[in-house]
Amino acid sequence: MKKTSVLAFGLVAATALTSPAKADKLDDIISSGTLRCAVVLDFPPMGSRDEANNPIGFDVDYCNDLAKALGVTAEIVETPFPERIPALMSGRVDVGVASTSDTLERAKTVGMTIPYFAFQMAVTANDKSGVKSFEDMKGKVVGATAGTFEAIALEKSVKEWGAGEFRPYQTQADVFLALSQGQIDATVSTSTVAQSNVKGGKFAGISVVGNAPYDIDYVALFTNREEYGLINYLNLFINQQVRTGRYNELYEKWVGGEVPSLSVNGVYR
């Protein structure tokens, strides 16, 4: 009797020592003390740089809040739109706080949280192009930022129209540069981006002419698909941001106006 209990104790001790509990990404972040967020800094007001070259914007603040909740320091890793996923897959970042549309196609590759922000799509046109609404874009040369929700939607529209031309540019700044030069006649972008670029005054001769009839673009945080522990945490974090009023506060600070609802009527999640 005594022998077996000693043996059993020995076995338990041995397994406890040899196989530590498997640490998941959430553990890794907490123990490393740093949360590395992929943020697009070419996408005001969500992400950009101030005069001192420091990252600022809604997404930057959101990442800082998340780091604070986790009790770690935030590290903003600048990633252009097309490089968000390679950055995650190669382990350079832990979480994407990068205004990423939660499409089903992409969810096959990365794990998406519940939406943390929602965009309305707006049409911005060169004043000389004669484009006064979304319908006027038919047959014109249009462009958008490669790899975004609106670029994919706009390219599809151009294909359906069977007329005109679609040009994807690598950065939002290039799109507005091409638009103000008249290289393209119109673009579809999130209304927040459109307003901030038109009002910013860097690009002359362009105006926001109306809304684009695309679905509301819900954007999610993302991380590796299999990291359920972290995704769970992120979902709760987003919920808490809304619940505590922090979401409204950040929206007022960076965008202003009516705060978009993050829930879809008639269905869970």
Partner: protein, 221 residues
């Protein structure tokens, strides 16, 4: 740590689209080479002409083409000219940018080849009653083209690879553009980029081999 599961079957579905893109890539490379050769020949003649303005023009062209990044040259062709109201489509801008670059490098190739041809040959031709242009056309140029042929195929390979810079000016029909678009929709970055790399490799290799084959055929003594 690398955590990624490859979905090759998804990527292979897009292969026809990517091969269409590869055709556009090859087309731009070939056109830019043809334009580049003609311009390079003109630049070489300018340099030989002894005219200071023509010589200066050729030198400036070669200096800029060889000492600034191709990305910059293509970007300037689209956004640079665009700010002066000259609007080149992404296709044209890419073609112009690469042709500009090609001409600069090929002109240098030609200059190197010319150095390998003894001056005495021109003088011999002149003493037979040829004009300077005739001596160049019938004695020097054939040898120059022969010597410069294999270095020029390097430039052709380089032109093929440079087409991938077209994405910066909104090009979406060449191989790099198609790949970027597919990547944006599905986020299957590694599959599509690996496929694109293989296609670029195959094209570049095929061009080198074809050039070598052509060289042994054309340059038999």
């Amino acid at each position: 740590m690398f955590s990624y599961n490859f979905h090759w079957n998804q990527a292979f579905k897009a292969l026809p689209q990517m091969l269409d893109g590869a055709l556009v890539t090859l087309q731009i490379a070939l056109l830019s080479m043809a334009i580049g050769l003609v311009v390079a020949l003109a630049l070489t003649l300018f340099r030989l002409s002894g005219n200071r303005i023509l010589n200066g023009f050729a030198t400036v062209w070669v200096e800029i083409a060889r000492n600034t990044p191709a990305l910059f040259q293509i970007y300037m062709a689209h956004f640079g000219l665009g700010s002066f109201g000259i609007h080149l489509s992404p296709y044209t801008a890419l073609l112009v940018g690469i042709a500009f670059n090609n001409a600069g490098y090929l002109a240098e190739n030609f200059r190197g080849a010319l150095k390998a041809i003894p001056e005495t040959q021109t003088r011999a031709g002149r003493s037979l009653g040829m004009t300077p242009l005739q001596a160049f056309r019938y004695i020097v140029m054939p040898q120059m083209l022969r010597i410069a042929f294999l270095p020029a195929t390097n430039q052709m390979v380089w032109a093929i690879l440079m087409t991938s810079l077209g994405v910066t000016v909104g090009m979406n029909t060449d191989l790099a553009g198609v790949t970027q678009a597919l990547n944006a929709v599905s986020f299957r970055t590694f599959e599509f980029f690996a496929l694109a790399a293989v296609i670029y490799y195959v094209i570049a290799k095929a061009v080198t081999l074809a050039a070598r084959l052509a060289a042994t055929r054309m340059f038999r003594y």
